[in-house]
């Protein structure tokens, strides 16, 4: 590992950390515009985080030591993910991420968050946790299968190698497998990050909460860290979708020009994806909880078909 | 010649559609079927004695000719019988003149489609004609607009359409298998062309194609386990139509299977025979089981059709000169006997106003002529000598034994015995005893008995001796299956 590689990794992580709240802000703003209102500023999430960092923490009487550790673990897992996944550089040092490890890090994050929901001792937290697990039960195999399909095409499970493979292929790499798998991952993105139609992120009715329910008991700095971790998760999902499936523009070496192009292309893709998420959220309504498995099975079947199509076609 | 054969039913249908009075419709219908039969005889004679008639899209070889004869004869008898059957329904108020017109138009269009199935050369056009028969007969099945009739016709439409779609997939695969053999530019599904290169067809494709075709067209032919539409459709339709469906339509579907069987035999010997034997035995077995538990007279006869179609498939599956001859003979024998039975059942059902066999008693006292013909027909269809069906079944069993298929022959004989028992029990149960109160005595009309007498005479004659003309005809058909008698 050379110094430049370490610097690039640090730059990637900082980029992700800085951009994540902005993406959530962009989604909020886009949704507001689609509803013909002004909406909050795109920098609002930063202000919210700053406000929360300065507030005191109040914990429930039933909370154990785990309650205080969980936010650190979650944020740490997301930073780890930012190191593993190639953000704007797919060179040999761009990421050290094997895709299966990536899925497991996401699983760690989800597990810790679910425990955090139970820690508070309130029924709403437990409800949110159980719903989150129900959704994840189908999302995880979908993610695995989708990434298996691209791994099958490129012959390796290392995320940067897959990126390099598709970047080298260029437009010739477009195949039905890619489309099916990315459709499956887009639906999983909506599911994992608690977007409509799976969960309304702006709801204040505890009975309808999935993600927010698990965060109900957190306050102050811990809440800031959990929120930040959620923003980073959204960003990382979008980065995986962009860079593994459509990695055009990603830097393959460490030249300054290449890196700038890489940063520009990932920024553009993130912007595009945020706006698409906002559009989907505005167009669809939140689905009933027991109809969610239907939609999730659709995404699972899509990923299954993605793997099949690799062998059929 | 062949064009004339097809134009006559078309004209009859048109004229029936335009006719005003009942009488005109009946006369036109009967006259039309007679003319069709008269036109058919010379064509068939030519096909049997000389080389196959091959002109344009038409192809009439001995196999087609045999089926054409069956179609036109049965259609003639059915149109004669329909006269008094429908008159009875008119009196009861179940149908009006518009329905009558509708019935006869559809009847002749149906006959036209069935004739089309057997005289075209291209397998694709044959498929289109088979689909046409399904669509037209769906209306005939749903003729009485009661709940059960509609249920039966919907089931019939859906199941047969699915079957036919699968059969089309089979035909496409067959076409694909012929592409290499026929070479570039020979863009054809003509059976005669495929027959010439049959041994060069791609074996893997032919196997898959045959499976789809036997399942698909077998659905229309009434082979189990795809036969589920058959009892419903044949029992809910008007009785003359049930006769036409059982005796002729099932044969047409079997004709399609046989055409492909001949091709498959040349391309992949042994595969198609084993499949036919399997489906044949399965049909006979399943039909036997349901025969024993049937209570409705027409359903009973419908299951008997499934059984006999199974026997025919079995005969062709076993192969060899005896079995093939037996199967071909059985095609003719079954059509005649089943029609006779359905006509008798029609008489009984209209007199007794019920189809439950337990409620029908004492036919011997109320309608002696029908009763005697029913007993004769029942014995015939159960397979007793000296009737035609016995000869067919005997030949098939002999063929099985000659080919060394002892297990098949044994199962076959056992099932025949059970069916004989069931059939005699039911028929004698209906004929003997005292009729219930309120059932008027007396036959329902001479025009009904005439066709029945003709049929009875035919099956006795065929059971006792084989006219040499028929023998030669069957021999020339059997040659197509590459067996020498």
């Amino acid at each position: 590992m050379q110094l430049t590689d370490v610097l690039i990794v640090i730059a990637e992580v900082s980029f992700v950390l800085m951009v994540s709240p902005l993406l959530t802000g962009i989604i909020g703003k886009a949704k507001a515009w689609m509803q013909c209102r002004q909406g909050p500023s795109v920098l609002q999430p930063y202000r919210d985080l700053w406000k929360l960092m300065r507030k005191a923490t109040v914990a429930s009487r039933e909370a154990s030591w785990l309650f205080f550790v969980i936010p650190y673990v979650c944020l740490g897992a997301m930073v780890c993910l930012a190191v593993m996944v190639p953000v704007f550089n797919a060179g040999p040092s761009g990421g050290v991420g094997d895709m299966v490890a990536t899925i497991y890090v996401l699983g760690l994050f989800r597990f810790m968050m679910v425990l955090g929901g139970l820690e508070g001792g309130s029924p709403f937290g437990g409800m949110g946790s159980s719903r989150e697990m129900m959704i994840s039960a189908i999302v995880e195999p979908t993610l695995l299968l989708s990434i298996f399909s691209v791994a099958a095409i490129s012959g390796t499970t290392d995320l940067s190698s897959i990126s390099r493979f598709f970047a080298a292929l260029g437009p010739k790499g477009l195949s039905p497998t890619l489309f099916l798998a990315s459709a499956a991952i887009f639906i999983s993105l909506l599911a994992e990050n608690s977007r409509v139609p799976f969960d309304n992120p702006a709801t204040h009715l505890e009975l309808t909460m999935v993600h927010e329910g698990m965060l109900l008991e957190y306050s102050g700095r811990e809440l800031a860290m959990m929120e930040m971790a959620s923003y980073v998760r959204l960003t990382m999902f979008m980065v995986i979708l962009s860079n593994v499936f459509f990695p055009w523009g990603i830097a393959l070496g460490t030249g300054a020009g290449e890196l700038l192009v890489g940063v520009a292309s990932i920024s553009l893709k993130l912007l595009l994806l945020s706006v698409s998420v906002a559009v989907v959220e505005s167009v669809m309504a939140k689905m009933r909880l027991f109809r969610l498995p239907n939609l999730l099975t659709v995404s699972f079947t899509l990923s299954l078909l993605a793997v099949m199509s690799y062998y059929i076609l | 010649m062949i064009e004339a054969l097809l134009l006559v039913p078309l004209f009859t249908a048109l004229l029936c559609g335009l006719a005003r009075s009942e009488r005109t419709i009946y006369v036109l219908s009967a006259a039309g079927s007679t003319v069709t039969a008269l036109v058919a005889f010379p064509c068939c004679y030519q096909a049997f004695s000389g080389p196959p008639l091959h002109r344009g899209p038409w192809y009439l070889d001995p196999l087609s000719a045999l089926f054409v004869l069956v179609i036109v004869v049965i259609t003639l008898l059915v149109s004669v019988y329909s006269v008094q059957y429908l008159q009875h329904d008119r009196r009861e108020g179940e149908v009006n003149v518009k329905d009558l017109r509708y019935y006869h138009v559809l009847l002749h269009l149906f006959a036209l489609c069935m004739l089309l199935v057997v005289v075209v050369d291209s397998l694709g056009l044959m498929w289109i004609a088979v689909e046409g028969t399904t669509l037209i007969s769906a209306f005939l099945v749903g003729f009485y607009k009661k709940g059960e009739a509609i249920e039966a016709s919907w089931k019939y439409l859906i199941i047969c359409s699915v079957g036919i779609t699968l059969a089309l997939l089979g035909i496409v695969l067959l076409y694909a298998s012929s592409m290499a053999a026929l070479g570039e530019g020979a863009d054809t599904l003509d059976w005669s062309a495929l027959r010439a290169v049959a041994d060069q067809l791609d074996p893997a494709l032919v196997k898959v194609a045959f499976i789809f075709i036997v399942v698909g067209l077998g659905t229309k032919a009434g082979l189990a386990p795809m036969h589920t539409w058959l009892p419903d459709a044949h029992s809910q339709s008007p009785t003359p139509i049930s006769a036409l469906l059982s005796a002729v339509l099932l044969n047409c579907a079997m004709y399609g299977v046989l055409r492909v069987h001949i091709l498959a035999q040349a391309a992949v010997p042994g595969f198609s025979s084993s499949l036919l034997t399997f489906f044949g035995l399965l049909s006979v077995a399943i039909a036997t089981a349901f025969l024993l538990t049937s209570r409705d007279l027409k359903r009973f006869l419908a299951f008997s059709s499934v059984e006999h179609m199974g026997i025919i498939a079995l005969g062709f599956g076993i192969g060899g000169p005896l079995a093939v001859l037996g199967a071909l003979f059985h095609v003719v024998a079954h059509s005649l006997t089943k029609t006779l039975m359905f006509f008798g059942a029609g008489n009984v059902i209209q007199r007794y106003r019920t189809r439950e066999m337990r409620e029908i008693k004492g036919v011997g006292r109320t309608m002696p002529a029908t009763a005697s013909l029913l007993v004769l027909g029942g014995a015939a269809i159960a397979g007793s000598p000296p009737f035609a069906i016995f000869i067919g079944e005997l030949l098939i069993t002999a063929g099985a034994l000659a080919s060394g298929e002892y297990l098949v022959a044994g199962l076959f004989i056992a099932l025949m015995a059970i069916i004989f028992a069931a059939m005699t029990y039911r028929v004698l149960g209906m004929v003997s005893g005292r009729p219930q109160e309120g059932v008027p005595a007396g036959e329902l009309g001479a025009l009904r008995l005439m066709p029945m007498l003709v049929l009875a005479a035919a099956i006795i004659v065929l059971g006792v001796l084989l006219p040499s003309a028929l023998g030669d005809a069957l021999g020339s058909v059997a040659e197509l299956f590459e067996v020498i008698i």
Partner: protein, 190 residues
Amino acid sequence: MGQLVRSFAFQSLMLAAIAAVLAHYTGSEHIYVVAGLTLVVKGLVIPRFLIYSMDRLKVRREIEPLVGIPASLLISGGLVIVAYYITEPLISSAETVTRNCLAVSLAVVLIGLFMMISRRKAMTQMVGLLMMENGLFLGIISTTYGMPLIVEIGIFFDVLMAVLIMGIFAYRINQTFETLDTTFMRRLRG
């Protein structure tokens, strides 16, 4: 229900597009004719007729099918795998450009068949049959670059007739049973 018909129209559209591309690739004109027919008959005429029937029959939603939705989706995925397994020996020996379409076409046929078995409303069964025909058509144009033209035209005509006739029967079912739920038609047994 409207979504069902729209999905079918979309599928027919894609089919016509495939046929057109194939016609361009092989340069044979009769496939263009066939592509055009697919577009008009299956993409426009039949969906319009289905929507017209649905309005007349006041059909709204599909009732909960006999097999639940997630299970149906998984079974459909399984059927794709089965279709691939069946056609694999055939595909490896064929030499046409579209040889892989055979697996897809068989999958569509099987999924259409599954739809006919597992759904209860008469109209959905009709659409299932039409899907089977679509799959079949894909099989036709991909393995054999289309059959003799007269056969193709005959098949289209037949499909159209079948749809019209089934529409008439669906109307009769609705008149007699006051519903299009086919599980109500159970009087004939044994």
